[in-house]
């Protein structure tokens, strides 16, 4: 049971991120939720790459057991892509704020309804 603890921990983070992304009405908070969801996936991958008694995947005479380098590479790529998408999302929020004067979803939708009866 203890062997799956890491994964459950990931699921808890993931679900919290998901809930905030759906339920929060503030757009910046939604992006924070998305970030938490994303980092939970990172933790999931890195946990899967870990080998018990392994060491960091840097070759050395003194070690013979290494953790799996492939998830590390994938997550390196994912972190950078994640920052790129966060930047894009935040730029969109800044534009929405210029257009609507608010970053609260309910307020924005109310303005939309008033404009198109």
């Amino acid at each position: 049971m203890i062997s799956l603890l890491n994964y459950w921990f990931v699921f808890a983070l993931m679900l919290m991120g998901l809930y905030v992304t759906i339920a929060s009405s503030n757009l910046v908070k939604k992006v924070v939720g998305l970030n938490i969801f994303q980092t939970s996936v990172f933790i999931f991958f890195i946990s899967m790459g870990k080998v018990a008694d392994g060491t960091a995947p840097i070759l050395d005479e003194a070690y013979s057991s290494y953790s799996n380098p492939l998830p590390h590479v994938l997550i390196l790529t994912a972190i950078v892509v994640g920052v790129a998408t966060t930047a894009l999302a935040l730029a969109l929020i800044v534009r929405i704020r210029e257009g609507y004067g608010s970053i609260e979803e309910s307020y924005i939708q109310q303005q939309d309804r008033e404009q198109s009866p």
């Binding site: 699921f11 339920a23 018990a52 492939l70 590479v73 972190i79 307020y107």
Partner: protein, 176 residues
């Protein structure tokens, strides 16, 4: 620790505090990656996640204001959806290999080859570097494409805003 931080992140309504907590959260995650032998990922997360993302959030907050409207009630449909996902994930996790198990399927396919052959085939002692720059360099090229697209998107979105503000100022000057 991470759970406490993320609960705080989601409960606090002052967005400035949330932005600073995001930085701390990223740093804690970087420590976690370090413990899991993922040193390259750890320093990328520390630099990019804790550094750049926090700066991005702070810049945005300086433009949009830092107060979040109070949340009136718990969103029941969202909670139901999240609970359903959680149940499915828990059910699926029963089939996961144990953490750290060297016999897990993840470690059986290409990883042994990367570990045993990369020194001869590519060169650098850091296997992550070899895989990133040689075996999976198409991934890295795609990543550059994504970052480039995102940069263009941000410039287009914000550049237009700046120009429109100038137009507005011009209009304001014309009016009186």
């Amino acid at each position: 620790m991470l759970l406490v931080l993320s609960v705080a992140l989601l409960r606090i309504r002052d967005l400035f505090t949330v932005a600073m907590l995001t930085g701390i959260y990223s740093l804690v995650i970087a420590c976690f990656f370090m413990l899991q032998d993922a040193v390259d990922v750890a320093f990328t997360e520390a630099a990019v996640g804790a550094g750049i993302t926090t700066v991005l959030f702070l810049t945005t907050l300086s433009m949009v204001g830092r107060e979040e409207a109070p949340i009136s009630r718990i969103n029941l449909p969202a909670l139901a959806c999240v609970a359903a996902c959680g149940a499915l994930l828990l059910y699926a996790s029963q089939d996961m290999p144990a953490w750290g198990d060297p016999q897990a399927p993840v470690h059986q396919h290409v990883a042994p080859r990367y570990i045993t052959e990369s020194a001869a085939e590519v060169g650098p002692p850091n296997i992550v570097t070899s895989v990133l720059a040689s075996y999976r360099s198409y991934d890295t090229m795609g990543e550059v494409g994504v970052v480039f697209t995102a940069a263009i998107g941000v410039l287009l979105l914000l550049g237009n805003g700046a120009r429109r503000r100038e137009d507005n100022e011009d209009d304001a000057e014309d009016q009186p």
